[in-house]
């Protein structure tokens, strides 16, 4: 057989049928739904259809859940969204991790955490950041409501095979430089729509060296470069991370699975339509200044002289000003991009023994992450610094639950989108890593975390 890429192999394993126009009907191994999936369930109701494979369908309450004052829900619209998901889970008999469940959290944190995400699977969810699960060597991508209804009804999806792009990142990330900085650098190199029509594969020594959390951050942000999905070859780190997870295969089944997973890596000589290389050693902590994720620069840079006037006006910046002079009003640490235990540890390491100059919200990516963080005292570090320790949900990344900035407020945020109004009408978002948000919290402005003066002991 011809040399194949990792993506080709997963694709081939899922083809149910092909059509003359080149589209393939693909089998879906995992389908995650959330409160926002209500339009799709309505379609099922209209057709009097049922969920074809409830055992492969998992619900998580994340987009609308409150992060403060739980389990009380004051806003009736929000309570209605969560109730509707519960009603659909009961009606269609699929497993739901609801507000009261100890495994509740953001779908892209919970799926891997429970071992529902595995190498070689095809995973979909009505959320664009489903690309996160590609960190395990799964073909994972976001879909709209019509496709959610299609998957619920048929457990399949029609797809045209995307082209393949390999991004090789060698070298070593420096101290306080993280997967988020890598992700923003990749988006700058590719452009906000530069990977349109491509399945990305990340490879190289810097990728192998990343933790699973870091790999998830990188794959998560790949959608911001316009990619259909991103994959990383499963390796020993992947297997070690998955072993003994609740829904992962156990005992001999895990060994059988691992034998298959080892065959998934891209063959020598496999063809990619595009290749790109970056050196991790060159990457500095990154921050965004504008309203698109590719408006990112190293923290020691200046706001571009030639930036579009409407972006500068919206963000309230002057061309040529140092990024490190931008004062912030608020901070947010969390989201499917940077709400995992590693992320909270990185932020807490900076905040330990220091105080916050601005208010901020810390929302762990899942209830399990929250418990783990509390077990090692991270909550006390955030609270002692002056930040608010909250429950898990999408929270201020998408603002659907009411966690919002006021108009013109400026936020240092570990999230994935700095779009106009993303964190509330008129809000100004600067994307960066958890360590960089922590540094901004300490000084009250965008700050190179590497230059914070050491604590006096």
């Amino acid at each position: 057989m011809n040399a194949r890429t990792l993506f080709d192999k997963i694709w081939d394993d899922h083809v149910v049928a092909t059509r003359d126009d080149g589209e393939a009907l693909l089998w879906v191994d995992r389908h995650f739904v959330h409160e926002g999936s209500h339009h799709a369930f309505r379609t099922l109701d209209d057709r009097t259809a049922t969920v074809a494979e409830p055992a492969l369908t998992f619900g998580v309450a994340d987009h609308y859940v409150p992060t403060l004052g739980r389990p009380m829900i004051v806003n009736q619209d929000i309570a209605g969204m969560i109730d509707r998901l519960s009603a659909n889970a009961r009606k269609h008999r699929f497993r739901l991790f609801d507000l009261a469940d100890p495994n509740q959290g953001i779908v892209h944190v919970v799926g891997p955490e429970l071992g529902l995400t595995l190498p070689g699977l095809l995973i979909v969810c009505g959320d664009s950041h489903t690309s996160t699960h590609g960190a395990f060597g799964a073909y994972a991508f976001g879909i709209g409501a019509s496709e959610v209804a299609h998957v619920l009804t048929t457990q399949t999806l029609w797809q045209r095979k995307p082209k393949r792009m390999r991004i090789t990142i060698n070298g070593t990330l420096g101290p306080h430089v993280s997967a988020k900085d890598l992700a923003l650098s990749v988006i700058v190199a590719v452009g906000a729509n530069g990977a349109h029509g491509y399945a990305l594969e990340y490879a190289g020594r810097a990728i192998v060296a990343l933790s699973m959390e870091g790999r998830m951050t990188l794959c998560n942000m790949s959608i911001e470069a316009g990619a259909r999905c991103a994959v990383i070859a499963p390796d020993e780190a992947t297997f070690a991370w998955l072993r003994d997870r609740t829904y992962a295969p156990s005992g001999p089944a895990f060994e059988t699975a691992m034998a298959h997973w080892r065959t998934l890596a891209t063959d020598a000589g496999a063809r990619f339509e595009r290749e790109l290389a970056l050196d991790a050693t060159d990457i500095a902590p990154m921050v965004t200044w504008g309203t698109s994720p590719d408006d990112a620069l190293p923290i020691n840079a200046l706001v571009p002289i030639d930036a579009r006037a409407e972006k500068l006006a919206y963000m309230g910046l002057t061309p040529g000003m140092p990024l490190a002079d931008i004062a912030i009003d608020r901070a947010f640490i969390g989201s499917c991009t940077n709400g995992r235990l590693d992320d909270l540890r990185a932020a807490a390491a900076v905040l330990r023994g220091r105080s916050a100059r601005v208010p901020g919200l810390v929302s762990p990516g899942s209830s399990a992450v929250k418990r783990a963080a509390e077990a090692e005292g991270l909550d006390r570090v955030f609270i002692a610094a002056g930040l608010t320790w909250a429950a898990s949900g999408c929270s201020m990344c998408v603002g659907m639950n009411g966690d919002l900035l006021a108009p013109l407020e400026r936020c240092a945020s570990t999230t994935n989108r700095n779009f106009r109004g993303r964190q509330g009408p008129g809000s100004r978002t600067h994307l960066m890593s958890p360590a960089m948000v922590a540094a901004a919290v300490v000084t009250g402005r965008l700050t190179d975390v590497r230059t914070l003066p050491p604590l006096e002991s």
């Binding site: 394993d13 149910v16 049928a17 059509r19 126009d21 080149g22 589209e23 009907l25 089998w27 191994d29 926002g36 339009h39 309505r42 057709r47 259809a49 492969l56 619209d77 929000i78 969204m81 495994n103 071992g115 529902l116 595995l118 070689g120 699977l121 009505g126 959320d127 664009s128 976001g142 879909i143 709209g144 409501a145 019509s146 496709e147 299609h150 048929t154 457990q155 399949t156 029609w158 045209r160 729509n193 349109h196 316009g226 609740t246 829904y247 156990s250 089944a253 059988t256 298959h260 698109s292 603002g399 659907m400 108009p407 989108r417 779009f419 106009r420 109004g421 993303r422 009408p425 008129g426």
Partner: protein, 209 residues
């Protein structure tokens, strides 16, 4: 879904680049049911200021363009969130076709499923079309899906669209009905899983039900 063959009417030169779906419909409106209509939410925070007053600079607020069934935008229209409500908002407002140099992947797919035509043209052609539409009155354009052409006055532009999406729109296909014709193949595939990838079916440990 009703078949789509041509869209004829006034075209609004939106002119914006990287219009993400958060701009098309801000997240706070998405608790609505479709029955309530999403048209009022379209481009809400671009069309209206914080007090709800229409922003006169926004093209769709100009009287000559308010009823335009065609929008012309710059690249990467519909990027970002997978929310299909972005397509509902365009549709409920009366938009039937968006013309741009490129579209967000998930948005373009969502559009097709709802009968909204996405026509891809070159960057230079987009600029020419935007100039023409901005300059005079409220010119009508005709977007012909079968011919893959956009015509207005003497200008004729050929547009690109994924061949499957084109056929789906022309025929008014319902995806689910089409797929259910493959039910035998789907059932056969499912049976093979037990031997090809037995580990792929989740089996929760007894601790968690």
């Amino acid at each position: 879904m009703q078949p789509v063959t041509t869209v004829t009417g006034i075209a609004c030169p939106l002119g914006l680049a990287n219009v993400d779906t958060d701009q098309i419909i801000p997240a706070r409106f998405m608790v609505r049911s479709r029955a309530e209509g999403y048209g009022r939410c379209l481009f809400h925070d671009l069309r209206f200021d914080a007090g709800g007053v229409p922003n006169a600079d926004f093209a769709l607020n100009q009287p000559r363009f308010t009823a335009a069934p065609v929008l012309v935008a710059r690249g990467n229209f519909g990027s970002g969130s997978s929310r299909e409500a972005a397509v509902y908002a365009l549709w409920d407002f009366g938009v039937r076709c968006v013309i741009a140099p490129s579209f967000g992947d998930i948005f373009a797919s969502n559009a097709t499923k709802n009968g909204l035509l996405t026509a891809t043209i070159g960057e230079a052609e987009t600029e020419a079309l935007l100039d023409l539409l901005s300059a005079k009155g409220a010119p009508e354009v005709t977007v012909d899906l079968a011919a893959q052409s956009i015509t207005t006055g003497d200008l004729r532009i050929t547009f690109a669209i994924d061949p499957t999406r084109r056929l789906q729109l022309l025929e008014g296909w319902d995806d689910i009905d089409l797929t259910l014709r493959h039910r035998a193949a789907i059932d056969a595939f499912k049976r093979t899983l037990a031997s090809t990838r037995p580990w792929a079916v989740p089996t929760p440990r007894s601790a968690i039900g």
